[in-house]
Assembly symmetry: C2
Homo-oligomer: 450 residues x 2
């Protein structure tokens, strides 16, 4: 049997994950709307044999009141994920595309359709990162008076995924004959209307698009809260998560894998992919110097703004940057679960305000590893071989520069150790990730025609 | 001054516009989900210096009860338009992309965002064909109990377009400094929240994407009903329409151009583009033979099904194919206005049932011209020079074959006559079409920041 291999995704954030990345000479300053930048990045990731590229998303502008900080951050204007990946599907051949889309603010018919379209356009390389949208400043874009509470958002997400799967199953896999001689194009007995009527959605179907090459796009989940874990256990095939210590990552890995059985699923059907933001030097000194350079580019107002979600009612501009925060709040309920990690760290290590925002600025609470290709590979191998990860979501601090470094320096080191592929194994993202193609629910149940 | 030039769009329908196109050896039988087919077609259209490619769309499966006919038609499974064009934008440089999307069933924030994204991805080559969706079998996909009536659909469309424009104007054109030295990325005073609250929509804004390269995507309208004409006069920059005689086309041209003044617009701000489905032979005989071959591929059940919308309550399978229809109904109110044209034709020329469906099968009531490159160019020139058209929406009966013939045979003839460009003039679709880039409403009015 072949050795178990790392699964690697490249988590692409416009100019890079570091909050000051856009000021760094290794970044593309207008990358949010620069398609040539994304083409370059996707081709680099494909050259590095990554399984997938991934973009996060929120359907709105994240403005929290500090105009000075707002004007200094580079993440206000960027492509819509599914259209972006559709464009890149035409200029790549192997890499998968993970697009984030919200079950709280999108429509299930239109969402199922655009992801099916992306899967056909890419010949089986689409994935959907299911989010319920944690930001509380976008509901107004959709005519709502308030952001729904987490419990109902997650309940709606479960129903939304079921609807999407039902729509993707509209046509059975062998529904199309397309025989010019007989004139039979398809078999209507193999077309099924969903006729869904649930608590949140009423959707007739069928979808006007045949079954995606992968059956369903790969389903991804990215929250580590209690309802997020449950959603992942029920439906996700990969989970993105944020941990900074091996012990925490191991506990999370055990927890989510342990939840699968009750949904009739096996542990290998959900890939756990923690984030890692690697700052790479040919020597440790070079890596440290790179990191220091990046941190020096953080304007204090931007740094303080990263702390805003934890102290929403404070005027942070009055705080002493070189002292610990005057108090550390309990993480508000329903917040993104990264809040717990970050506040615990602040408490444990007595970080100063500047240290805390510098910690967050690196990769918003994700794991930053500053080192050589060897030491970075060591850490990845340690997590991979000790029940903490099935692979990683690699978060380049500066784009395109840091991804190129990872591909040129870390990937060969992982390959040398036999931890990573030397060629793509399959044609679809599912095949590369080692995930099964789901069976059509209608061909199983034999439900009746539209 | 340079001579007035024809504007040409290629109206792409999967296997072609003829209802039996998919059975023809010149078609790509699985083209609805074959990206390589669309890449070929778009590159052919770009080689022919077309202004744009266009796809029609309905968010649902059009099933009207006759399963036999349904199984024999090739238009049940196809890409979602905006994702399709996004993919093609990456492998073309000049051609524009007209995507159809519904103001009745889509969300204004998500629609504005995906079209802005397409315009950025394509560097200014996006257009939106605004439809209110005339099909009455899709409301169930969106949780509605019935399809809204035409009056409210068009009222909603006007409001929807205003909201979309307001969202596209969120950032002023010079909002972004992106200066790494000062650390200023953009000027928040040049970001504007729409705060729209109307009869149909409540949308806060701003959009999380800077102004499209074209200001707004080009706005297209494709209905010729009374409210359709009014919507076009108020907002559209191109109108697709269906006429089969010069006199009718002239009357329509005068009518819509005459409606512009009351909206403060000039006649040249709305391009009138009738459909033409050219069946091309090197001789007239060759063209006629091609047409006869295509018509012979129509299965009677498919032919009768094209008449279903006019006689929805009849069992058409009992009708004598070689006699006129037993009666000709009044076009139902609110139907697609092509119904008026078709029924008038049936009445005037006493067509048999077979002749009527063969007439419709060609291009669903659009103008079919069977002839040589010279005679086809003659007819186009006649309409263009006599107040009936600013250009045409070319509807290839079989794809990719008929488009290749048009590009290889008709385009050179039009160029020889000085009627069509010999190179693209501009970088954006607007520039090629000779349309102005709209001014940002906020930079004019000076509304306040988000």
């Amino acid at each position: 049997m072949s050795q178990r291999k790392l699964r690697l995704g490249a988590f692409i954030m416009a100019t890079g994950h570091h909050v000051a990345a856009w000021r760094h000479p290794g970044s593309q300053v207008d990358s949010g709307v620069n398609i040539d930048h994304y083409i370059e990045v996707a081709k680099t990731a494909e050259r590095g044999l990554f399984d997938q590229v991934f973009v996060a998303d929120t359907p709105g502008v994240g403005f929290h009141g500090d105009e000075e900080a707002f004007s200094r951050q580079g993440r206000v204007s960027y492509f819509e994920p599914v259209t972006l990946w559709a464009a890149l599907s035409a200029v790549t051949r192997h890499i998968g595309f993970v697009a984030t889309a919200s079950t709280t603010y999108e429509d299930p018919f239109l969402l199922a359709r655009k992801f099916a379209s992306l899967d056909h356009l890419s010949k089986g390389r689409a994935a959907w990162n299911v989010v319920t949208t944690s930001a509380d400043n976008v509901h107004g874009n959709f005519g709502l008076d308030r952001h729904p509470d987490p419990a109902s958002r997650y309940e709606q997400a479960h129903e939304f995924i079921d609807v999407a799967k039902g729509l993707w199953d509209s046509f059975e896999d062998d529904a199309f004959q397309r025989d010019p001689v007989s004139g039979k194009y398809f078999d209507p007995a193999k077309l099924h209307a969903l006729s869904h009527s649930g608590k949140y959605f009423k959707v007739a179907g069928p979808l006007n698009l045949e079954r995606p090459p992968q059956g369903y796009p790969v389903i991804v989940q990215a929250g580590s809260s209690e309802p997020g874990r449950e959603l992942a256990a029920a439906s996700a095939e990969a989970i993105f998560t944020a941990w900074t210590s091996l012990a925490e990552a191991q506990a999370f890995y055990r927890d989510v894998k342990g939840r699968l059985a009750k949904y009739g699923r096996r542990p290998e059907q959900l890939l756990v992919l923690p984030g890692i933001s690697p700052v790479i030097g040919r020597t440790q000194e070079e890596a440290e110097a790179k990191w220091a350079k990046l941190q020096s580019l953080i304007h204090p107002s931007v740094g303080l703004n990263t702390l805003h979600t934890f102290w929403p009612d404070e005027d942070l501009s009055t705080w002493d940057l070189d002292a610990p925060p005057p108090y550390i709040p309990e993480p508000p309920p329903g917040r993104n679960s990264r809040a717990h990690v970050v506040l615990e760290l602040a408490r444990r290590d007595r970080l100063t305000v500047r240290q805390l925002y510098e910690y967050l600025a690196g990769a918003r609470g994700h794991w930053v590893v500053v080192g050589t290709p060897q030491t970075i590979a060591d850490r990845m191998q340690e997590w991979f071989e000790n029940g903490a990860a099935d692979g990683f979501n690699v978060m380049p601090p500066v784009l395109p520069e840091s991804l190129e470094e990872f591909v040129d320096l870390v990937i060969p080191e992982l390959q040398r150790r036999g931890l990573f592929r030397t060629a793509y194994e399959g044609r679809t993202l599912r095949e590369n990730l080692g995930l099964e193609r789901p069976v059509n629910q209608f061909s199983v149940k034999g439900r009746k025609v539209a």
